[in-house]
């Protein structure tokens, strides 16, 4: 019985293939029960998200199990299995473990580090548990995958850096102000992106919020939406004196905020830092504002540049995460394989010990005059022979299990020494 995973994801299959396999939870329960009932899979978990459909299982013949599982999945939606085959991948044993760990840790995601996947894997696992298709092997694999995902999240920064413009702006604000709670924000203009950035700032505790718009009614409307205060458009400068962050996204054709104005304001603010997030095109804030001390001005291109850098940083962190996962796989396999071969080693020892004891008893029965020293010597001799014989197979078993070949070796040992059925 080998651990395997097979399926397709956003890299191997285009969306029109993936969407054909979309199933709801009820259907998924049905599929799980069907494939489990077919007997091809000892255990099964089906993970179906919009970016991947995968079957995790334990089977004697992974290829056959894969065909069975996907035949059932296809039947649900009337898709031809043949159309799917070219998009499917299968990983067995160690590779399956690696795949499970990488998926749960969001390293295999379209957007590396996106947080939803772990929840989706947990849901899939829970669903399979409720259908009683999870056995010890998949239980160990998934609980370990959750632990690894958590470790990856805390020990690397794959999920740390914003990959959207509006979140990148929030992150920059945090690099300037440390905490956003109690920082005042002024939103100028009614652009969608500006509103989104303001919303993110509010979520991080920014308060109070001021809204300015050329149309007074629109300003009031947006102020209500953000739980803020509308300020008259011609009092922008006054409002800017009081706030820490200014988000602009108007449709104005020329900059609304020039360097001279900001310079004057900075004097009145006693030089508290001021952060401009200028999402408008054409820009609302003169670029040269950034040269003033304590003023940071990011336009849309600057923010995109930050997002690009963040992406690169995430990928760098993903490499570290892969290293971490390799170490976790080694630990997992060592534990698992020891657990796999230990029963065999124990029964092998018991078997030889039983032979030794009975043979010694027979021999001693034929030697009634033997001195205690002779008896002791025979005991010692037999024990030494047994240990010498056992040494090599036990070493080999442990090694082979660590190399992922434990199962075939345990079967061989069971066969050779007549140990009865291996589990």
């Amino acid at each position: 019985m080998a651990l395997f995973v097979s399926g397709l994801n956003h890299r191997t299959a285009p969306v029109d293939v993936r969407e054909q396999l979309a199933v709801d939870d009820d259907k998924l329960r049905e599929v799980l029960r069907d494939i489990h009932a077919s007997g091809a899979l000892g255990e099964a978990v089906v993970l179906a998200t919009c970016n991947r459909v995968e079957v995790y299982g334990v089977a004697d013949v992974p290829g056959e199990a894969r065909a069975t599982a996907f035949r059932h999945l296809c039947q649900q939606r009337g898709v031809r299995l043949g159309a799917l085959e070219p998009h499917l991948y299968t990983h067995v044993a160690t590779d399956a473990v690696r795949h499970a760990f990488r998926v749960a840790s969001s390293l295999d995601s379209m957007l590396v580090g996106e947080p939803q996947i772990l929840g989706q894997v947990k849901d899939a696992f829970a669903l399979a548990q409720s259908c009683q298709t999870v056995g010890p092997a998949l239980h160990t694999l998934f609980t370990q995958a959750f632990a690894v995902a958590k470790k990856v999240r805390t020990e690397t920064e794959i999920a740390r850096h914003a990959v959207s413009v509006s979140f990148a702006a929030v992150e920059l604000a945090k690099k300037i102000f440390a905490q956003l709670s109690g920082r005042a924000v002024l939103l100028v203009g009614a652009g969608k992106m500006g509103e989104l950035a303001a919303k993110h700032l509010v979520e991080q505790g920014a308060f109070p919020i001021y809204v300015a718009n050329r149309t007074w009614a629109r300003a009031q409307e947006m102020a209500r939406a953000l739980a803020g205060t509308a300020v008259p458009f011609d009092e922008l400068a006054t409002a800017m004196t009081a706030v820490d962050i200014v988000v602009t996204s108007t449709g104005a054709l020329a900059p609304l905020i020039d360097r001279a104005t900001v310079q004057r304001i900075m004097h009145d603010r006693r030089a508290r830092p001021l952060f401009f997030i200028d999402i408008a095109v054409p820009r609302d804030v003169e670029a040269s504002v950034n040269t003033l001390e304590d003023v940071y001005c990011y336009d849309i291109d600057d923010l995109r540049q930050v997002v690009d850098a963040n992406r690169r940083e995430r990928l760098r962190e993903a490499q570290r995460a892969d290293g971490l996962i390799e170490r976790e796989i080694a630990k997992f396999l060592a534990r698992q394989s020891d657990a796999e071969v230990v029963p065999t080693i124990v029964s092998l020892r018991e078997r030889l010990e039983a032979i030794r004891v009975s043979e010694v008893r027979r021999t001693l029965a034929r030697l009634p005059d033997a001195s205690p020293e002779t008896r002791q010597a025979i005991e010692a001799l037999s024990a030494a022979i047994v240990n010498k014989i056992l040494h090599s197979p036990i070493t080999k078993l442990r090694e082979s299990s660590r190399a992922g070949m434990g199962r075939s070796w345990t079967e061989l040992v069971h066969e050779l020494f007549g140990l009865g059925r291996s589990t």
Partner: protein, 270 residues
Amino acid sequence: MHPVLFNIALVGYICATGLALAYLIQRDELVHRLQSAATLGAWACHTIGLLAFAIESGRPPFGTLPAAISVAVWVIVLLALWAERQYQLRVLPAFVLPIVVVLSLKSVAARPTVEDMGPTLGGAWVWVHIALALIGIAAFVLNFAGAIMYLLQERQLKAKRPGTFYYRLPALDTLDRLSYRTLALGFPFLTTGLILGAMWAQVAWGSIFTADPMAIFSFVAWIIYAGTLAGRAAGGWHGRRAAYFAVFGFVALVLTLGAGLFLPGRHGAS
């Protein structure tokens, strides 16, 4: 006994410095843990070494300037360990430990021995003068580290090209608060230390500045720090300007120690 301990401590600080710099480049949990362990281990050795030295000589372990610098290093590491936890500043050791190593090398180069103790050293006030000045110096080392980190982060934010420092260093506001706190902590100690020194000089040598280079440089450093503190408290100074002054102050402080170590004078270690 204690020279061995000082050497172990120095090796520990050097290892910790390497690890701290490695952590700055490659964020790795294991590297950080090793660095913490190396720092703590070195500091523990250092503590025992200083205690052994004090017991052996029968007086505080800062009777000569090199010995005093060794004690300053001890206080710096203690403060850095506190600040690292207080401000969640895991990169702080990368900026403090190199200074620690340079100072330790200096104090080891002229390893303190009991015989070095000058005959003029006497009276509790002198010991208090030295102790206070040392705590002040330690706080200003942290102040300098905070300023350097502020300047690096500010540059990144202005340049709009996020690099390693953007990701590793904390927010400007945090760094500015660290600078202010350490300035506010160090200044009273330095001031009281200098006043005691001046009073004692007046009594013992008959003049405050007996052409002693260390006294003169320390007065320059004091003026810079006093100006920065006044600027911060009353003039709304902060950020880049305050950071530049922290750097100036630290340069003056280094010159002060250098003068004490290498120029002849009343503090002279020659």
